[in-house]
Amino acid sequence: MLAALPAAAQAPQRVVTLNLCLDQMALRLAAPGQLVGVSYLSQDPRLSALADQAAALAPVRDSFESILTLRPDLVILGQGSHASLKRLLRGAGVQVLEFPWATSTGEAETVIDQMATALGREEVGRSLIAGMREERRRLTWTGAPRGTAVYLEANRGTSGKDSLMDELLRLSGYRNLAAELGIGSFGRLSLEAVLAGQPDLLVFDGTANDNPARATEFVGHHALLALAGKTKLASVPTRYSICAGPDNFEVMRRLAEARR
């Protein structure tokens, strides 16, 4: 207990995170009052499963000045972006921590572990990771293969090989049609390829059409009706599938509940 004290004393007191997915982790890990700002995207309930919690914090845009006004002692950002912002922050004496983009639940656990250490919240991190492992074990499909699945997101986008959704589909007992068609982690798929593939499961965000956008019109395309009767549908709100992390198990629960 005493040995842990110096680390706790060094733990950052005012933390800002600037990346939707890192926000989600920090919101779960940080001590009350430790997190003072998260990216404005985290307040959007369509993208963020913790929008309510995020709404209590300052919404941060990626500008140096708006970050400085929060007087942070640690800023957490994604790797490979905001190069000039990071330079400015370091120049102003603010500690900057970068994490890679996690594309699997396993990678998310690694990031959570490291972030928990940086925040001086190892205990919370350990229990979060243990909870994720338990959920993954419980939700992993162990029966006979369930056939093929395809994920359709905005702009006819799909998730292919080595993507988070690919992992979630595989864990749920499905083969990913997009990966088998040679599509990398992000790609676009025509509806004809979807129909021709005759997937057993179609995964999409059924709530996406609430705001007008061409991106999500395909959900209403007549041609998809031809799959009715054969293909099961699973509606997965984007907020559960956009980031690797504890929310992904909500995706797996919905995949398991999919009905024709």
Partner: protein
């Protein structure tokens, strides 16, 4: 020549119905085969035919009317203006409340751009001022589109609009076809009927008037026709550039450089170009399909450079 072009367009239309990732879709069962051909490939082929046709025709009309072989809906900003208006209709929710708002907005945007350009030409400063006007219209439309996107509550707006502006006719349904086709056909009929006056107009407005043309009502007619065609096409397919530039160039020499005579062949060549390009993007071995507008620009932009070089002295002097 028209007969051969018509045959080419017919062959490409049928090919467009036959080509796709599923190839022979009936092997997947009656219902899915029907859905693929009727709900996906037919709207795509029909839109390719109509949009290609009206873009080729608009290019020929604008080139004859503005007396400028570089005039093209994409280059001089007509498509961009139509795109801006369509984006407004879409993100304001107007298009969701009232389906025809989308093509109508596109048409209004296109007509405004044509009217602005005509004003630049009337003031009589030639090629350079027309192209500069086009640059300005393109820039304003792009800026306004960015503004609308910044105000849109949809988090996917930026990605989708960059994809949409790249131009595509993939996965449009019959509803889009039914919505846009009448406007495109009416627009084409309006300008085709004015073909014989286009020859007179290509000699200058004063000369045209002396030959008995009512240049004022003719101008309105052409503005309306091009607006209907480009506006409806853009509101469905986004910006498919350079078709209107290439089509008239390919046939101009063969019809003796008379603007009126370029109209019908340009329309057919435009339809063939878009149908052909749309088949090629389906056959290219890219994991995700290349956007149609990206493909036509990749092919068309070098054509523009060549056209500029070839005729440099001839009309920069005018």
């Amino acid at each position: 020549m028209n007969r051969w072009l018509l045959l080419l367009v017919a062959v490409l239309f049928l090919l467009s119905l036959a080509v796709g990732p599923a190839w022979w879709p009936w092997r997947l069962g009656h219902e899915i085969g029907w859905a693929i051909v009727w709900e996906l490939r037919l709207p795509r082929a029909a839109l390719g035919l109509l949009i290609g046709g009206v873009l080729g025709l608009s290019g020929a009309v604008l080139q004859g009317w503005l007396r400028n072989p570089l005039a093209e809906p994409g280059v001089i900003g007509v498509s961009a203006c139509a795109g801006f208006a369509a984006v407004c209709a879409f993100y304001s929710g107007l298009a969701a409340a009232f389906a025809l708002a989308l093509p109508l907005a596109g048409i209004a945007g296109a007509a405004v751009a044509v009217a602005l350009l005509m004003g630049a030409v009337r003031s009589g400063t030639g090629t350079v001022s027309l192209l500069l006007m086009g640059v300005a219209i393109n820039a304003i439309a792009a800026a306004l589109i960015s503004l609308v996107l910044a105000l849109s509550p949809n988090p996917f707006a930026y990605q989708e609009i960059s994809l949409w502006l790249a131009g595509s006719i993939v996965d449009r349904d019959l509803h889009y076809l039914a919505m846009a086709a009448p406007f495109m056909i009416i627009g084409a009929a309006i300008v085709l009927g004015a073909g014989r006056w286009l020859d007179a107009l290509s000699l200058g407005e004063d000369t045209a008037r002396s030959l008995g043309a009512d240049t004022r009502s003719l101008g309105l007619r052409l503005t309306l026709g091009v607006g209907l065609m480009v506006g409806a096409a853009t509101s469905v397919a986004g910006v498919i550039g350079f078709v209107g530039l290439i089509a008239p160039h390919l046939i101009r020499a063969r019809v003796g450089f008379r603007p009126g005579a370029t109209l019908v062949p340009s329309m057919l060549v435009g339809a063939a170009l878009v149908l052909g390009a749309d088949i090629v993007v389906r056959l290219l071995p890219t994991a995700s399909e290349l956007q149609l507008g990206v493909f036509t620009s990749l092919v068309g932009a070098p054509f523009l450079v060549r056209a500029v070089r070839k005729a440099h002295a001839a009309w920069l002097a005018t």
